[in-house]
Structure formats: structure tokens, C-alpha cells
């Protein structure tokens, strides 16, 4: 599993902290971990990764307390060849499959409306999750 550990407030930079009298306080932004770094992504994939981090990662990210990830780990525990529980690490996803699950949901996951994930954002997300891997 590739995993990038993001330090507390590391992505914030100094500028956004400067306005506060308590700027020295480094406050955590969840999730602390991203499964996939942004290196090498094209523009659409990068936008798709942003959608993933905003909308999907709170349930399908790495680390503890991720019901989507833990649920898929159970679902695919006996699958051969192995399918990763982290959907960002899967290589078998097609854009159509990503779009189906976002618009139809699955189990406890309710579908996402277009005011939550627009068609353009969904296309980017699908491009990201189905990106070719080396």
C-alpha cells in the first residue's frame, strides 16, 4: 500500500494561519492520510483527486474509522486475484463503474446528487479512479 502521511496542518501553509492571534496552534485537518500522492496526475485526474478527497475519502480513505474501506475489505477478502479495499488503489475500475456507484449508491452509501457531485466533477473523479497505472 502506498501511503502519504500528511503532517498536521502541513498543507495549510503559513498564510492561512497568519491572521489568527492563536496562529501558533497547529490544528488537525482530517483525514490525516491520503492513499495516493498527486505526483504524475494529469489535470482531470488532479481535479478528480480533489473530488475524492472532498467527498469520498472520509469513508473510503486509509486509516481507522473508514467504513467504506473496511466494508470493501470484508467484501473482497477471499477474492482472487486480490482486490484492494482502498478504491484509489484499484486498477480494475472503469469510468462507467465509478459513475454507477456514485449515482446509485451501495448499501449504506446513499447516491450523490448533482448538487453534491456535478456531472463534470464525476467525470473527473471517474478519470482519476480509472487512470492507467504503470
Amino acid at each position: 500500500m502506498s501511503m502519504t502521511k500528511i503532517a498536521f496542518a502541513g498543507a495549510l501553509g503559513c498564510a492561512v494561519l497568519a491572521g489568527s492571534a492563536l496562529a501558533q496552534q497547529a490544528l488537525p485537518i482530517p483525514p490525516l492520510q491520503h492513499a495516493v500522492p498527486s505526483d504524475g496526475l494529469n489535470a482531470a485526474q488532479m481535479r478528480g483527486q480533489d473530488v475524492f478527497r472532498t467527498t469520498c475519502e472520509h469513508c473510503h480513505g486509509p486509516g481507522r474509522g473508514m467504513p467504506g474501506t473496511s466494508s470493501l475489505a470484508v467484501k473482497y477478502q477471499d477474492t482472487a486475484p486480490a482486490i484492494p479495499a482502498l478504491i484509489e488503489e484499484r486498477t480494475d475500475l472503469t469510468p462507467e463503474l465509478v459513475e454507477f456507484f456514485v449515482r446509485n449508491g451501495s448499501g449504506a452509501m446513499a447516491p450523490y446528487r448533482k448538487t453534491e457531485v456535478s456531472d463534470d466533477q464525476l467525470a473527473d473523479l471517474a478519470a482519476y479512479l480509472s487512470r492507467p497505472r504503470p
Partner: protein
């Protein structure tokens, strides 16, 4: 084609949709089967049955002015509309309306955090702002205030408060409606009203004094259908310096009575301000336990904990284990160990109870909750525990339906919520059994003087019926208000059992 609003002709509906498109932009009106289906309640106990509540279309304004325009059009053409915030009120109806054929007024695009004042410790937000959004806004600016998230962080700050939701940090912040301060609402005729000090032009205290002068009306917009809330202020908690908690155990069943008396004393004195967890003595006897969480300055809460410990130790046989003091902000290591909502950090980990697990490889997917308010006393706990045990077989017809309960929730002071959870999925026959069980719990609880604090859409009429003192005088008062404020009955028909005159059953 999606269904039409009842009593509305195709021609009138087409006219309404055309005018909605002019008001909010064509891309923000959804009327195709595919798009409207996204507004179904994924956790509906009527999923796939004729009684499932469905929308006719959806309109997504981005500003208060656009909400006004939509309201005026709907009011003129008598189109029923159903405002939602983020639409994630799962288990309580999601984004589906209580009245089939309503046009969903989807406020998700109104997602601006308008203000967070660190010194005054308050925020002003729009309905589409989720707990994640507000948390990110605060942390990206390094502001030293906490939000109070409920279990699922994707919900609307406004929507959760308006539906009566609660969270998990210190009182009073975890009573989400109670922690609000000031509203902006759009009436059915399109008029904008600001409440409290917001009614004063140039007011500098809208989020600092919730009462203003004269009759206070904010409560009219909680769990209601009198207006569309477009802004709301909330008091935030300055980041507490530290947190400490203790576990208290008592040995005998009846010891829960002095345990709760002690806990109540400490909470009512505001010496314990965190959200207590209760471990129940199920099975008819045995130990009870509670947690005693306190937020505040380190030196102060150490003394408060010492006071609390001594009080609990007055109960014969009680044991009190004080946990390690946790200073804030959390370290990365602490972040991985604590329950995040207790530290003002939104997340979605609660959905683990619904998703696949080694113990439950084929979950139903959704759930609904029956959640009556009961007295916050040991006697209240014992009575509800025995009530649940004694009636479970009758309610379930002797079948194991996977119902879980009771879980005693302590989000609010002075009362408890006794939560019973029902799995909901796509099996029509199982859902029918769940509905029958839910209805029976409502009836049985009402016989004891218990009623719900909040209800899934499918049971709002039944729950409203239990508030029946003096031949339903409260309902009649609400109907009088509804008729006065929304005479055409366009907003959220049926929400929490309040129907407009033309849909009222005599």
C-alpha cells in the same frame, strides 16, 4: 417522466419548471427521471412500495434572492416544495419529501461560511455548509474555536440543528438548535425575515443575542414547515485547554439510581459538561456504568474531576477510574486513539455500524431509529430497560428482526433519549415488519408518557399523534400558524405531522 405534484396540471407544472429555470438557471433545475431519482430516500422503509415518498423535480438556488424567487413562483402556482440542506438526513427521510410530488428545494449550493468570529466564538452559515465544510474553514484559518459535530460529519450544520440533532462535545454546544443564535428565513410569499437582533438594520449583535425584543419566533422554524431557513448563526466553543474523563461503575441494579442522581447533580451544577456515555445493566440486573467527561482549563478540570470522583465514591461499592488528561490540540498519536467527535472533529466512522463487517457480512444497508425522550433518572433507565425487554417479543412477533436497543443517548441535559434501531434495506417484507414494529413501539411508549424527540418521515404523523394533550390542542395551534404563515400550504407539507388546510384529514 417523474410524477406531477398532486392536483397540478402538466401545463402548470411545465410553467413552474420554466420559471424556476429562469430564476436559478437551467442547469439547476432537475426534472428527468434519472436526476429526480437521486432525491429518493436511500433508507426509506417504504423503498420500492407504492407508499414511498417521491419528488416531482428539484430546484437548486444559490442565493437567498433565488430562494425568494422560487418561493414566489411556487406560491403563485401552488406548487408544493420541500427544502433540504445537504440532503444527508439519512434515517430521517434523506432528501425525499414527506408529501409525494413535492419539488425538492435543494439548498446544497448555498454553501458559504459567511463568518466565523474567533473572539466572539460564533459562526454564520448557509444551509449547504456541512460540518466538514465548517471545520475545514476554521482549521484552514487557524481559528481557535471548535465546532460540535454529530456522528456523521457530512450533514448540514443548519439542517441538523433544525431537525433537532445533537453532538458530542460540551454542553450547551452539543444541543445544536439550542446553540444557534439568529436566523434568516424566507416565507412562502418570498419575504425575507431576520430574527432576533438581525431584525435591526445595521445590527452588530445578530449572533450575540438570540432574543432581541418582543416575541421570539426562532422555535417556529425547528422541525417545522413555516419557512425556508437561509442563514443561521451558531455559538462555537473556544477550544478547551484539556479534556479528562472517568469511568464510574456501580455493582447492583438499583445502584443506577444514586449513580444517575450524582451525575445529574454534577451536570446541573455544570461541573461535568461532556456528553456522558451510559453502560446499561441489560438482562435484568447487574452493573451499570457511566462516563464522566469534562472540558476546560487543566487546573480547573482536575479539581472538578476530584470533586466528581468524591461524589460518586459516596455510593457504596462504586468504583471510579479517572483517565489520562488530554491536552488540546491533539497530537497525531492522540488523533488516532480518541473518538474524534468528542474533540470537535467531524468524520463518518459511525457508518461502520451499517456497513459490512466480519460480524455482519450482509448488512441491510440502512436504518431508522425510534427515539423517545425518557427521564434522566435511574428509575427512568430501569423502567425503559424493563419495558423494552418485556415487550420485545410482542413487538417483533417473536422473530429476530435485528432490532438493536435500547441505547441511551445523553446529548442533551435533563432528559435521555432511549434509542431503538431498526435495519432497513431493500427487502419489502422485512421493511414491512420493521414498520409494524416501529409503530407498535410508538404506541406502547405513548402509553407510558414517552414520545419521540425526532422522527423518520414515514412516522411523523404517528409521532405527532402522541402529542395529544387536550384533544390535540398543540397540533391545532400549529395548524393555525401554518394557515396564517403559509396559506397556500406550499412548504414541506406533512413535515412533523403539520399539514396545510387543503391536505388535512378531518
Amino acid at each position: 417522466m417523474p410524477m406531477l405534484p398532486p392536483g397540478i396540471s402538466q401545463e402548470t407544472f411545465d410553467q413552474a419548471l420554466a420559471r424556476f429555470r429562469e430564476a436559478v438557471g437551467g442547469d439547476n433545475v432537475y426534472s428527468s427521471d434519472e436526476d429526480v431519482a437521486l432525491y429518493r430516500d436511500a433508507y426509506s422503509p417504504f423503498w420500492g412500495e407504492p407508499e414511498e415518498k417521491l419528488a416531482s423535480a428539484a430546484v437548486a438556488p444559490a442565493t437567498t434572492e433565488e430562494v425568494q424567487a422560487v418561493a414566489r413562483i411556487a406560491n403563485e402556482l401552488h406548487i408544493p416544495i420541500y427544502p433540504i440542506s445537504t440532503g444527508r438526513n439519512l434515517a430521517y427521510g434523506g432528501s425525499a419529501p414527506p408529501y409525494s410530488g413535492s419539488v425538492v428545494l435543494d439548498l446544497k449550493r448555498m454553501n458559504r461560511v459567511l463568518e466565523v468570529d474567533e473572539r466572539g466564538a460564533y459562526a454564520l452559515v448557509e444551509p449547504g455548509v456541512s460540518y466538514f465544510d465548517l471545520y475545514n474553514h476554521i482549521t484552514e484559518r487557524g481559528l481557535d474555536v471548535w465546532i460540535d459535530p454529530p456522528d456523521p460529519g457530512w450533514g448540514s450544520v443548519i439542517g441538523n440543528a433544525l431537525d433537532g440533532g445533537g453532538g458530542w462535545t460540551a454542553y450547551p454546544f452539543r444541543d445544536h438548535f439550542g446553540a444557534h443564535c439568529g436566523m434568516e428565513v424566507v416565507l412562502a410569499n418570498g419575504e425575507v425575515v431576520r430574527t432576533g437582533m438581525g431584525a435591526v438594520p445595521g445590527s452588530k449583535t445578530w449572533q450575540q443575542n438570540r432574543w432581541g425584543c418582543g416575541p421570539w419566533v426562532d422555535g417556529l422554524f425547528r422541525q417545522s414547515n413555516f419557512a425556508i431557513v437561509t442563514k443561521m448563526g451558531f455559538h462555537l466553543m473556544p477550544r478547551p485547554e484539556a479534556f479528562i474523563s472517568a469511568n464510574v461503575s456501580v455493582q447492583n441494579d438499583q445502584d443506577v439510581i444514586p449513580m444517575m442522581d450524582t451525575l445529574n447533580l454534577l451536570e446541573n451544577m455544570h461541573q461535568v459538561n461532556g456528553s456522558t456515555g451510559l453502560g446499561a445493566g441489560f438482562g435484568g440486573g447487574g452493573a451499570w456504568s457511566c462516563t464522566v467527561p469534562i472540558y476546560g482549563p487543566e487546573r480547573v478540570i482536575r479539581e472538578q474531576m476530584a470533586f466528581a470522583k468524591a461524589k460518586f465514591e459516596e455510593i457504596p461499592g462504586a468504583t471510579v477510574n479517572v483517565g489520562e488528561l488530554i491536552r488540546t490540540p491533539l497530537t497525531p498519536e492522540q488523533y488516532e486513539q480518541v473518538r474524534l467527535v468528542n474533540f470537535g472533529i467531524p468524520n463518518l466512522s459511525t457508518f461502520a455500524m451499517l456497513t459490512r463487517s466480519p460480524m455482519n457480512p450482509n448488512p441491510a444497508g440502512g436504518h431508522i431509529g425510534f427515539s423517545p425522550l425518557i427521564p434522566r433518572t435511574g428509575e427512568g433507565l430501569l423502567e425503559f430497560r424493563d419495558f423494552y425487554r418485556d415487550n420485545l417479543e410482542e413487538v417483533t412477533q417473536g422473530e429476530n428482526l435485528g432490532i438493536v436497543g435500547p441505547v441511551f443517548m445523553t446529548n442533551w441535559e435533563r432528559s435521555l433519549v432511549a434509542l431503538i434501531m431498526f435495519p432497513i434495506g431493500r427487502d419489502v417484507e422485512m421493511n414491512r415488519k420493521m414498520r409494524a414494529a416501529f409503530t407498535r413501539w410508538v404506541e406502547l411508549a405513548a402509553e407510558r408518557g414517552w414520545a419521540e424527540y425526532r422522527s423518520p418521515v414515514a412516522f411523523m404523523d404517528e409521532v405527532a399523534d402522541t402529542y395529544s394533550f387536550n384533544d390535540h390542542a398543540l397540533r391545532r395551534l400549529r395548524e393555525t400558524l401554518k394557515d396564517a404563515i403559509d396559506p397556500n400550504g406550499i412548504i414541506s407539507a406533512g413535515r412533523y405531522g403539520v399539514w396545510p388546510k387543503h391536505l388535512r384529514q378531518t
